[in-house]
Amino acid sequence: MTNEPERPTLIEQEEATDAGAQGLAAADLAGQVVRLLEQALDASGMDQKALADKLDVTQGRISQVLNGDGNMRVAAVARYLRALGYQTHISAVPVEPGRPELPREVNRRRRPAAKREVSETRYVARLPKRSREKTTG
């Protein structure tokens, strides 16, 4: 009896090509958007009418978005989530070796105060003090 290797699954076949991996990534992110909107709506306690009023769009539009595939414009995602009480963040997880997690966070501290001493590269003209003329009147 021979142990033949299992044929790759359809998902494995797709992930093995650029077009396939990108298509799955697009579908996955779009799905995450709808899932997030559903959860935010639920957590907010708002109904679709209240959300429509807050966004100044029709209830039909809200229904269209919530029943859509999530392939919305970035601005719309941010607006909808903000209207539901959330700020949206975006991040990227590496799936290929050698890539760092993004965004890279740089911990810059507050700019240090400028030094007061005179350095060699900094010339400050020192003029002799002029004596004030006393005015008499």
Binding site: L10, L24, V34, E38, N67, G70
Partner: protein, 164 residues
């Protein structure tokens, strides 16, 4: 033993294409057709979610979580047959114990009966580890056509017979 086309091996479920008694796999044929026609039309491909990717991702999400990618992506039909839904396209599925058995999983109506009460998809019960993709159709009317419900049931019967 029939060899089925594998779609995904997930954390919760393995998903394969159901195979009819004549050896055909209608769910697999549907996915192939979507794949072959995915860029026949439309501009700005870089902005689109094509149907093939949508269905594969929805199936992968179910395989990894036992839940729909979002609420409207999955719907219960009847007698333990469910469907993935995207636009007017439908792809039915069901679960099995792998020995030709199938205990129909029905939508839970009362939260007190929920198997996963903390989930926002508490109406969906636990499915058996093996999922089979069955019949595909286009839905153009409010109600699911009786012929498609019957076809979905027939595919399941013929597919499970291979395992008995």
């Amino acid at each position: 033993m029939v060899e089925r086309r594998a779609i995904v091996r997930g954390k919760c479920h393995d998903v394969d294409c159901a195979t009819r008694s004549d050896g055909s796999a209608p769910g697999g044929d549907f996915l192939d057709a979507l794949k072959n026609s995915r860029w026949e039309s439309g501009e700005h491909r870089d902005e689109q979610v094509d149907d093939y990717s949508w269905f594969l991702n929805a199936i992968r999400h179910w395989a990894n979580t036992g839940e729909p990618v979002y609420s409207s992506a999955v719907n219960a039909l009847e007698d333990g047959i469910w469907e993935f839904r995207h636009g007017d396209k439908r792809l039915t599925f069901y679960d099995t114990d792998g020995r030709g058995g199938c205990t129909p999983k029905m939508l839970i109506r009362d939260h007190a009966d929920a198997e996963v009460p903390d989930s926002s998809h508490w109406q969906i019960p636990y499915f058996d580890p093996l999922i089979r993709i069955g019949h595909a159709f286009t839905k153009r009317t409010q109600k699911t056509p009786a012929a498609d419900l019957a076809a979905a049931a027939d595919v399941r019967t013929e597919d499970l017979d291979h395992d008995k």
